[in-house]
Symmetry: D2
Subunit: 315 residues, 4 copies
């Protein structure tokens, strides 16, 4: 018997599955509101700094968000090479925009988030996240629906980043993990444009869902390339999928480091050539699951996360 | 607000820190005992199969143990090239021995575990873990103290694998994460021998402890090389450290795959050349923390895990 | 912020409602099995001694079971005055029988429990509960269905005690909280016989269910009388209902003490004349809810506990 | 196995002991602040309405606070008979004052609470608690230290109500559960005045602490009389102690009801003559523990709650 000295009284319980819970101890509640779209808290945790919580889901926190935002943004930008225009769908905390702005080639970043109340609260309480990104003259913030925005844009973007919360309820995010949505994204890209989508945990019970999303991306863009990083406060390795024309080749370590230097990308904490090689070199069972999957998520048959009970067994 | 449908009544709470808990829902208790050394349970979880729990710490489970045991064993064996003798210190479930036996070059595997009651319970209730490894004619099981065993062996081993539970209390494991212990291991190795030690989580608050352990390995063996894999049921990425003479170079993807084939290593789920490249390509902040660390754990000043309150902040 | 030093790793979570959990820290698991009827654990807790857990519900524990079993049995026996024959329906741990045997007038106690595996485990691991009651020559243990047993008995019993687990699922207990079941019980009683049924928590959200059960008892027996005791490990005050002909009058403090003495009832920890007065003197809101309720639970429309979502709001 | 559908993501964990936790599911956070004295949240729970939480301890909630505040106030007032002046020490939510104001004899209620920020938040977010009590012309609110206030008052009060949070840390409340404090209270009372103090849970592990507090009250006032009520959201029966000259006799049911009527006390939910009889008729083991205890809490040797580890075993 070991037990433990606990220091928190207030806990955010993340239900990773019906049998797995990650409890985040909260030392301070900085903001709490029911917005038009969701429950929101901004909290201080014991070891992971300040975090944003939406509908009970830990979105990101200052203690390890770099493990999520850096690979999300820079992998896509490296694969493009010299992005000028970047469209961020979702991304409430502003950290995704912050990373995109590090590229000297970038002239314009538009962020489209549906929940203005969340964005305002993040601006106020999470300066460590945005670090002034919303005030950069290259940034444009649009409060609105990602689907609607995509309908009004075509052939404009070098990089599109889908940084949406998981589709846990039959709410708006559901539609954004489907073939139809990806087709809108493809239409919005310039030739040679790169798409990246955060694609949820890849713990064994979640691998099938990831593989199906990769298959969906492939069905639209021609090729997909999955990678994974580990922000520990998520309690599971986290995945991303690149969509683009076949083949999607990851440059060598030295080439990546050289490109980042040329582009004046500084201040990174986890991402560089070696880290990029690491996140793209997936374990065999995950590569095989992705390669063998052919199911495609459509509006008629969308992705359903836990809460909607499409959870497999790991064993 | 989301909530969740939970299916378990009995939970194993892993206290990752005073503010972070991973709760494993238990669907069935297969064995429970207080052994001479520790509290033990063998349980069935909802999504991760059957797991071994010692002193409230999740040791490994059938649902994702391959993400731990495969890199632990095969990375060290690949770096050696053609191991004949393998010494496993700890390793109660038998899965570490199971992996070592996959190598056709291996003629002898000795496993030294202090807790015979745990080993017997694993033999009985976790056949998925050992898969008959204890019955292999090349396997020798010693119930006893790792330190004592090391005192009686010298220059005998191609690979030594330290697969011990974390030093959470000032108990026996404490001494096994120190310079003095590593010196005994070094003496036990043949020239050209390779040492690998499981070295705990590398979530941000734990990085310092990992770096210090790497520094300790380095101080004894000349060089260390860290790598990390994610068995999601641990709730954090897990690390390993290789000790050996400088430099410790990881072969290329194709070379690893060729060696595994030559050695007749089959049945792997996660490990191959690309996976090996992935686990050794660490994020920048982790590489830097390891490179910059000079503290050495000694018997006079040993490593102390949470429970002993040497926990830093991530942010 | 306060936090706490926790000493347990294994927890039994009692879901009192979708928003209320009582977590029992387990220091040792003495027995664990899936019987023909239910999941069973016998565990050691930190402060409440050894406890029996069925389907994740804390049944009773050595630390405070006297707060449940003493009022359950002795209130009914006092109201009868000189019981000779006592029928216990359910009562797996043997503590209900133990209490009945304290009465010198008692010549025969039959206990009918459906789950022989639970009874055997309790005999072995919970001697503090039965205290040899199963070996008393007046005791007869029947492993079988309460309904079936009632069909074969008529006009035989001075006291019938319904000590069944809560009807959390549409399982066998469901039928035992209905008008039809109570009618069978009434037929089994001698003239002047007294019936008592454990009737669940009476925290505000559960009061309606208690009141409906009282109304059901009333509809069969003519009168009901509710009382409540607090065994703290249940996390809520616990209720009982007496059924009998109108009026059911509680004797005065001195009269109860005199009767207990005459009957040679010794060794009680909580129950005496004053305690009996205390448990029967209910708060006003509870008395009013009971008096005003007219709903009757029938086989066609049975009582449904949380899990079946018939939970009201307290406020 | 049962499991449960949980509806909350944010939980307040009450550590009842190192092995017992009551988790309150929070559906909404109405206010959260670190005041000069403590952490405060005002939250909405699923079944128990809105609650005040201080330093992680559930103070009271709209769903069952009447089970606490009504017996706290009316038992003392009944024992006095016709109180004109009432002093409330603590009582942040205003519900204690609300109850005192129901007595037509009451001409003046002074409430002394140290934490003005908590009182302001309760005024704003918990109107169900105070119900305008702060605006009653008979009410005077003093933000300040109870000890200091007592030093400046003598022979003025018919009833003094100590409604303080538990002394969980060596903070200010500690001094308020000692002989020295009670002597100040006694000096403040008019001849014939009545003192009542909320005195914590009386679950088996807490009985010793209650008995010692009763012994302390006795040592100052001459006599003590304990009683207990059950507000289920506390997860344990809650106790109160009356201090006054020997004997402290509880009037009969009819006498209490007549007095309440004469005094115009209306709107009560749980308290009346029968309820008063119920809360004062304690179980035998509790009465005996109180009668046999002689330890007295002093400034040199104060009461220490869990957190300070003075917790006994129930079994």
């Amino acid at each position: 018997m070991a037990g433990a000295e606990l220091r928190a009284d207030v806990w955010i319980n993340e239900y990773l599955s019906p049998w797995d819970i990650y409890s985040h101890g909260v030392t301070r509640i900085l903001a709490a509101a029911r917005t038009q779209y969701q429950d929101m808290q901004i909290v201080e945790s014991g070891l992971y700094g300040k975090g944003l919580v939406l509908d009970g889901k830990w979105q990101s926190c200052t203690g390890d968000e770099f493990m999520y935002h850096e690979p999300l943004v820079h992998a896509a930008c490296v694969l493009h090479g010299a992005p000028e225009s970047v469209l961020v769908l979702g991304g409430g905390e502003g950290a995704t925009v912050r990373e995109a702005l590090r590229w000297s080639s970038v002239k314009r970043v538009v962020m489209v988030d549906i929940d203005g109340e969340v964005v305002e609260a993040c601006k106020k309480h999470l300066p460590e996240m945005h670090q002034g990104a919303f005030d950069d003259p290259r940034t444009e913030l649009v409060i609105g629906d990602a689907l609607g925005y995509l309908d009004d844009t075509a052939g404009e973007w070098d990089v599109v980043i889908s940084d949406l919360s998981d589709p846990i309820e039959e709410g708006p995010s559901f539609a954004l993990f489907t073939k139809e949505y990806f087709e809108k994204v493809k239409r919005a890209l310039k030739p040679g444009g790169v798409f990246v989508v955060q694609s949820g945990p890849v713990s064994p019970p979640e691998i099938e869902a990831h593989a199906r999303l990769a298959s969906t991306v492939r069905s639209v863009f021609g090729a997909s390339r999955s990678y994974a990083s580990y922000a520990p406060s998520y309690g599971a390795p986290w995945s991303f999928i690149i969509g683009g024309p076949d083949p999607i080749d990851v440059p060598g370590v030295a080439a990546v480091d050289r490109l980042l230097k040329e582009q004046g990308v500084t201040g990174l904490r986890m991402f560089d050539g070696e880290a990029m090689q690491g996140v793209f070199s997936l374990p065999k069972h995950l590569r095989e699951a992705i390669a063998n999957e052919t199911t495609v998520y459509t509006m008629a048959s969308p992705r359903k996360f836990f809460g909607k009970n499409e959870v497999g067994a790991a064993n």
